[in-house]
Symmetry: C3
């Protein structure tokens, strides 16, 4: 690979990491409009272990914002493996953990989970967006 | 942006990530002199949720080292969003978690917290340093 | 450092981060053959706090796969400090946490730990591999 191509790839990898980091931040701070902007219009969200599959940016925002209603959530991303697969496409794997605190009559309960996000990204109009986000669980602790 | 500017920006982003990673490592291993070296002389530390604001490298080292006395601390950094804002200035957001173990008569107690560090960096004499470190909390579990 | 050398260093740093991320993923998904491929033939694994030292790729795979048998493990990597030390050699420090769930007659028990991986990497036949992995513990919670 020549120097120009290497530089472009490193630039794209860093852009994708930064964009994806913002998705989790916007989720945990419940900024749903900006959160939605990070997905392609035809994006797919999958969590096979939970029997969940959701298609389109609109449906993803609706489902995730409803699911996080009343929840104080923390979603952490670890150690990305980003691969550029074309001029405007890429894949990524991130280790993840989440901690969801729900109010209940007996006081707050916390669910902690672990797994990997297996993802695809596409560049549209100069901006990288999430086209596929699949959560593969390792474990959920209650 | 031309290739030269892209390369310089990627280089600076990696330098800042590495420097900031060392701040948390030096904190958790209580190496206070090296910890202090990572801050500018006029650095500001803020934790609004805790009503805390501290100005100057000297005060930051004094406050943090006193606060961690007798504590076995873990401070983890996740998924940085670094933005270069000038030839020698940058901003950053990191997701974070901390886990602080304190001894007590009833045995050790652990406090676990989550949030984001919202930061500014400056380059002085060739080295990037932290000029602002503000901790915005999402949640504290006891 | 000239532009060509900077680009090569950034490329190598990203390659090492991605390779190392895969080591933890292959460990937690118990893909032992691919896990082993990430180590040099003469690699060393050390965990001084546990009195553990293990030499050679073969021994590392044997020890780690036996240790994780029946364990649902999570190993997370945080905030790398990678330093290129030669054309085919590098060092790295990563903050880490692990959470190991073991079945028992009284139900599953979880051990959570924190520390730093202090590591060396070497490039063989174009691929970066782990030559030394030493775990320095900050704390283990039961």
């Amino acid at each position: 690979m020549n120097a120009e191509a290497q530089l472009q790839e490193l630039w794209d990898v860093e852009s994708i990491k930064r964009m994806r980091a913002s998705v989790s931040r916007l989720l945990d701070t419940k900024r749903w409009e900006e959160f939605g902007d990070r997905f392609t219009a035809d994006a797919v969200l999958e969590a096979p272990e939970a029997g969940l599959r959701c298609v389109s940016r609109t449906e993803i925002v609706k489902l995730v914002s409803a699911g996080m209603d009343g929840v104080r959530s923390v979603h952490h991303l670890h150690a990305p493996e980003i691969t550029i697969t074309g001029p405007d496409s890429a894949t990524g794997i991130w280790a993840m953990s989440d901690s969801l605190e729900r109010a209940s009559a007996q006081g707050p309960t916390v669910m902690t989970g672990y797994g990997h996000y297996v993802e695809r990204y596409e560049r549209h109009d100069g901006d990288w967006r999430v086209q596929l986000l699949r959560l593969e669980r390792l474990r959920i602790d209650n």
